[in-house]
Symmetry: C2
């Protein structure tokens, strides 16, 4: 079993970004430059996942990871997603598109993101079986913690496992279950918060990364990957100073030419039209951070806790908005540092981040010698 | 004009904590140990402020600061605080106490926290005049940015000025107005967020500290004090790596014996009864972070944006709860790192934080040499 920092030259991880951005090309470019790239199996079928793994392997000999979404329980209120769907009818009309069926097994022709039996499981069991049959170097998990049996099976297969956590308690669960490392995801992070149990009554607004890393560091003995809002090498150095072993960056890589994010999404990151982000259930039914656009402003206030039902309801609408060139109804996932995004090839970005880290370390050494 | 780091031996600032915790004894202990302590003039009369300054001066020759609350505009809905008051009648009854009058100039006998003419101004003009007549080394500002004239006057008086900001835009305003430094307050911070304009429609949930420090660093040329959730020396080192010049800690000093926080408040910081914090308007009408207790759970959902009217309404109730030994209706201000609080004398805490910083720096140097 290799350790986290043996897997790549730099402690720089490209975050899995489900729904398109984490292309095999992006993952391979990051791996070639000495970082750790991640494919995102969420919303993909097992077959699509295997295909993407093959594409990465045919491009790079570097290490990479695959991220899995954990199966989700049915929503507390089974009718909430349907009621939400009713309230979106008018906006779907403006894009001349139909809303998706919130229930499982629908064959909504607009839903090309997932399997035709997309439900709360995200095909987890089949993907785990495929990854155990043909192991990859690293597998990470979002929205929960696998069973000890599953983590043990990955360990036997030689796969390094990372469980994404948003609190010290979730990190303790991950350690108990046998994870090799945790990814501590701060409230700054773009996209979905990996909260293990989405309880709308808990009013969980998330913990800032610098606080979370220290809490996790003092709670578990596992290596910690810090995620959330990181855009610069100095911030990676800061995360390491706080006790992290590596840093995971999503939004920073979203703007790369190799990323599969929609061009309007990439432009929006630094557009003066979008000045802030918010956590919202409006697009998927689970809290996720994105740029605040008209859709978020209008529909966040009554979006229910119903994932992935709400994702299915809005999927076609978001694609229709993208086709219409209208960023106001797209899910513009972004971390709080989005305005610092740099449109560089992924390999150059990894090298630049590493150089900035090194500069920061040299500055610290200089400060120390001057004392 | 001395620079921020010339004022004290360590880049460690004890945050101003209004309402009691920032006692002259705490401030002097921090100053004697080589940190920068802050008195909190908020909710105090000008006379009380001067008295506390004299107490600090009679105890230490070290540098210290005074924090001022900026005057607040009237709330958008003048009736909101009164309606909130009506809904709190039952809970006030359980503590056998009366609710305060939300309007200015009330003579509520329970309101011993401020002047008898407490309104949105917090006596700002008189306090500024007093601080210009008898200058202190540092003055910081919360809830807004002073005029250029006021900052210029402080500069002429030899007082170093720090404006507390929660966004890069607020930092730009502070630089433009002539502040000497900014305090970048992350969403992790306990107590009031220093947002310059409290707009409930803006859904401002705050920026994580590590992201905010970098955004501010890249926006203004001023020194940056990092605040929010910091409890350990390694986190101070992290903030400096990210580009901050010093770190400001509130909750870490709240638990010190010299702090004037209520004993129940100190105990609550590490009590298993209080496992999370939230930003709430329930106590004051402005978003402030505290431990989630029954009062927050029950009254946050409908608390209006009406500061300081709501503060006046709940002031007597909170004191009655404290007298009854019931932490469930007290304002238990706390940052997200509260469970890491250490009950140490303030001077020892400063020394420990400085030693932890130095250890972190040595570890970084060690990692560097090993490469």
């Amino acid at each position: 079993m290799s350790s986290l920092t043996d897997l790549c030259r730099y402690p720089i991880v490209q975050a899995p970004m489900a729904g398109g951005p984490s292309t095999p090309r992006l993952v391979a470019a990051v791996a070639d430059a000495g970082g750790l790239g991640f494919l995102a199996a969420g919303y993909r079928t097992g077959g699509e996942m295997r295909q993407e793994i093959d594409q990465v392997r045919s491009t790079t000999a570097g290490a990479f990871g695959v991220n899995l979404f954990m199966p989700q329980p049915p929503p507390a209120d089974p009718g909430a997603a349907a009621a939400y769907r009713d309230r979106l009818a008018a906006v779907a009309g403006t894009y001349d598109t139909a809303l998706g069926d919130p229930g499982p097994g629908s064959d909504d022709p607009d839903d090309s993101e997932g399997s035709d039996k997309f439900d709360g499981s995200d095909g987890y069991d089949a993907k785990v079986a495929a990854l155990l049959a043909e192991p990859v170097p690293v597998v990470s998990f979002t929205f929960g913690c696998p069973t000890r049996d599953t983590l043990d099976a990955f360990a036997r297969a030689g796969t390094y496992t990372i469980v994404t956590v948003t609190t010290a308690e979730e990190a303790r669960d991950a350690q108990w279950a046998g994870a090799d490392a945790v990814c501590a995801q701060g409230v700054e992070a773009g996209g979905h918060q990996s909260t293990h149990h989405d309880d709308p009554r808990a009013d969980h607004t998330g913990i800032g990364l610098l606080t979370l890393v220290t809490q996790v560091r003092e709670t578990v003995q596992l290596p910690v990957v810090a995620a959330g809002g990181i855009m610069r090498g100095a911030q990676i150095a800061a995360a390491l100073a706080a006790g992290a072993d590596a840093a995971q960056l999503g939004t920073a890589f979203l703007a790369c030419p190799e990323s599969g994010a929609h061009p309007l999404h990439k432009q929006a990151l630094t557009s003066p039209m979008f000045v802030r982000t918010a956590l919202t259930r409006a697009f998927s039914g689970r809290p996720a951070r994105g740029l605040v656009n008209r859709f978020v402003r209008e529909h966040d206030p009554y979006a229910p806790a119903a994932y992935p039902q709400v994702h299915r309801v809005t999927s076609g609408l978001r694609k229709a908005a993208a086709r219409a060139g209208d960023a106001q109804s797209m899910a513009l996932w972004a971390g709080q540092g989005h305005r610092m995004a740099r449109e560089l090839p992924a390999g150059e970005l990894v090298e630049l981040l590493a150089a900035e880290m090194s500069e920061t370390a040299q500055r610290a050494v200089g400060m120390r010698s001057a004392q």
